[in-house]
């Protein structure tokens, strides 16, 4: 037996099995969620998704308030975070590639990603919420402080590094030739950014957005501390609400009845599906950008 061939084949087998294991984890997760949520699916059917009541006493469970809470907080957070992360990415890749300030800015953004979410929650509860409460008092809105908006703001800060790092990496990978070509045609810095750098990095920017969105959809601790945990459908973003991840974390430990537990797991399944759908749509969009880029 030739040792080299053995190594060659053995290595391939190890790599393949590692890949299969990774592939099996989400598959098994999905199977677990589906199996465990079966009683709730059977009992409530599609009504589960559209019902607004969450009443553990009477065993009536509906996911709509949480589904809405998760989607609204995540997309609102993205809306708030995007301009900042986009700007930071542009600054670090185009205007300040080197230097002390650039290094500090870069580490600061990366640090944001490393802070545990419970710290964000504390900060939100102790600083952000009182601030919003003051605003609400001034505006004549009930001064809860905790609200969908508070949760979105906290999430926005948390996801900035995810969106910006990816965009920055892609922007700084653009080959100098292309940019120099644009400059040689008489383009200003602004024109080069707008017509060359940004269009070329669409896929990277969008991949970052997707990553950030995934983070926001699943965030639990920081959200639960500032969202108000009201299991009702909110009518505006100043009202308290709840998200799927937050209600699962809150109620899972003391859920004794089978149907209750199963309904919470169905919420988990729903979160899994929502995340998968968003990722799938995201991939499609990225692919379109890539093809477009290549065509040019």
């Amino acid at each position: 037996m030739n040792k080299d061939i053995f190594m060659e084949k053995g290595f391939k087998v190890i790599l393949k099995s590692a890949g299969i294991v990774i592939l099996m984890i989400p598959a098994l997760l999905l199977v677990t969620l589906v199996v465990q949520s079966a009683p709730a699916v059977k009992a409530y059917g599609a009504g589960f998704i559209f019902r607004q009541t969450w009443d553990p006493v009477r065993e009536i469970y509906g996911a709509l308030p949480f589904l809405a809470g998760t989607l609204v907080t995540s997309f609102l957070a993205l809306l708030i975070a995007f301009p900042f992360s986009f700007a930071v990415a542009l600054i670090l890749s185009e205007y300040m590639k080197e230097g002390v300030i650039a290094t500090i800015l870069k580490s600061a953004v990366e640090l944001l990603a490393g802070i545990p979410s419970v710290i964000y929650g504390f900060w939100g509860l102790l600083v952000l919420v009182p601030l919003i409460r003051k605003l609400e008092l001034a505006a004549g809105i009930p001064p809860y402080g905790v609200s969908i908006l508070s949760a979105s703001l906290i999430l926005a800060i948390m996801i900035i590094p995810y969106a910006s790092t990816m965009a920055r990496e892609v922007m700084s990978m653009i080959s100098g030739d292309i940019k120099e070509a644009a400059y040689s045609l008489g383009g200003t810095h602004w024109e080069v950014l707008r017509k060359v750098v940004i269009p070329t990095s669409y896929s990277g920017i969008f991949a970052g957005v997707l990553l950030a969105l995934g983070r926001a959809l699943g965030e639990t601790m920081a959200v639960t501390m500032v969202i108000g945990n009201t299991n009702k459908l909110f009518t505006n973003i100043f009202e308290p609400g709840n998200t799927m991840a937050s209600v699962i974390a809150n109620e899972f430990t003391e859920a004794v009845s089978d149907l209750y537990l199963s309904s919470l797991i169905e919420l988990g399944l729903l979160l899994f599906i929502v995340t998968a759908i968003i990722n799938f749509i995201g991939r499609l969009i990225i692919k379109r950008f890539e093809i477009k880029g290549a065509g040019k």
Binding site: P56, V57, I60, R133, N231, N250, V256
Partner: protein, 361 residues
């Protein structure tokens, strides 16, 4: 070279073999010592956890038996007992008949200590307020929306209440505290019973949810005009303002350890599964409740040894007697004598293969 390697290998095998041989000689002695049960497993309610951990620590120092109690919540405790992975479970709400029927074997409850739920609020310059059951239910149902409502003013004559909106704070996590509070409200208000009901998690008509006692206390402290409910221990430890609550006899009772113990001084059923909220005791605080340890009546399951069962019973006995001294310093209400009597009978009723178990008390 090859010979050398072979020689070393042989030597290694010989040495390991000798080690194993020595080890096997020691085994009988080890078995004898491992027969002495050194650890008991429990899981469940978080509410009594500080009390349990203090008591179990003292028990370890006394007997050398370690009690590993995982405070994973009452629901988790019940589940672990049902799947027979622990020696005992802890729960803040007694198991209902339907849940008991699901168990593979009869499950017994003994109360270990008591807790209470206090009403706390954030009103500047207002002294201790009095609450009637009607007022509490009205506020938490969202029917009473302002602090200067005539219903609140009527029971607090002489107190100038502000024209401020009431912000209700409740627990967002499933909790025994919510169970006691809603059980009380269901007893005193038919409106509450019909609209909301009793349970660890509720469909709250109004209010904000905070996680745990600190979460609720945080909302109350930060929000002007807020009202919420927290465990008595938490309120006492944090010097929070608490309201007096009118009990069934018409007396306004300031929440205290004494008032809670008095609330349980009533006729208890033999299985101790009773809610003592809205107590008939004249000086008893009406929003009180037991917390229980639960275990199987027939202890010979899953290959348990008789020694292990004896150790468990010793621990349970200790929790009802000597262990009670650790309750009050931690702001838990110790059990009244009547409850201990009932628990003694229950512990003595435990069997192993259908036979009663003798153990050192």
């Amino acid at each position: 070279m090859l010979k050398k390697i072979t020689a070393i290998t042989v030597m290694l095998i010989a040495v390991t073999g000798m080690l194993f041989a020595n080890g096997s000689k020691e085994t009988p002695a080890k078995e004898a010592s491992s027969k002495k049960v050194s650890e008991l497993l429990g899981a469940g309610a978080t509410f009594p956890y500080p009390f349990y951990s203090k008591m179990f620590d003292a028990y370890y120092n006394k007997t050398g038996v370690k009690v590993n109690y995982q405070a994973i919540g009452s629901g988790g405790g019940i589940k672990q007992l049902l799947s027979k992975t622990v020696d005992f479970g802890g729960t803040d709400a007694f198991m209902k008949d339907a849940d008991l029927a699901k168990a593979d074997g009869e499950i017994l409850h003994i109360p270990t200590c008591m807790g209470a739920v206090t009403i706390t609020y954030n009103l500047k310059g207002v002294p201790a307020l009095k609450f009637t059951p009607d007022v509490i239910a009205g506020i938490f149902l969202g029917d009473i929306v302002k602090w200067n409502d005539t219903k609140i003013q009527k029971v607090n004559s002489g107190v100038s209440l502000p024209d401020e909106k009431i912000v209700v704070a409740h627990r967002s996590d499933g909790s025994g505290t919510t169970a006691i509070f809603s059980d009380y409200l269901s007893k005193v208000s038919s409106d509450w019973k019909n609209k909301v009901g009793a349970g660890k998690s509720l469909n709250w008509p109004v209010g904000l949810g905070g996680k745990g006692n600190p979460g609720v206390a945080g909302i109350v402290k930060q929000t002007p005009g807020a009202i919420g409910y927290v465990e008595l221990i938490y309120a006492l430890q944090n010097n929070m303002p608490v309201g007096k609550v009118q009990n069934r006899s018409g007396n306004f009772i300031t929440p205290s350890i004494e008032g809670v113990s008095l609330a349980a001084n009533v006729d208890l059923p033999a299985d101790t599964r009773i809610s003592i909220t809205d107590t008939p005791a004249a000086k008893g605080y009406p929003i009180s409740g037991f917390t229980w340890m639960i275990f199987y009546k027939e202890q010979n399951y899953g290959g348990r040894s008789l020694d292990r069962v004896k150790e468990l019973l010793k621990l349970l006995w200790y929790a009802e007697h000597e262990g009670q001294q650790y309750a009050e310093p931690l702001h838990y209400a110790p059990l009244p004598a009547a409850a201990v009597k009932k628990a003694e009978v229950i512990i003595n009723s435990v069997t192993f293969n259908g036979e009663p178990v003798e153990f050192d008390k």
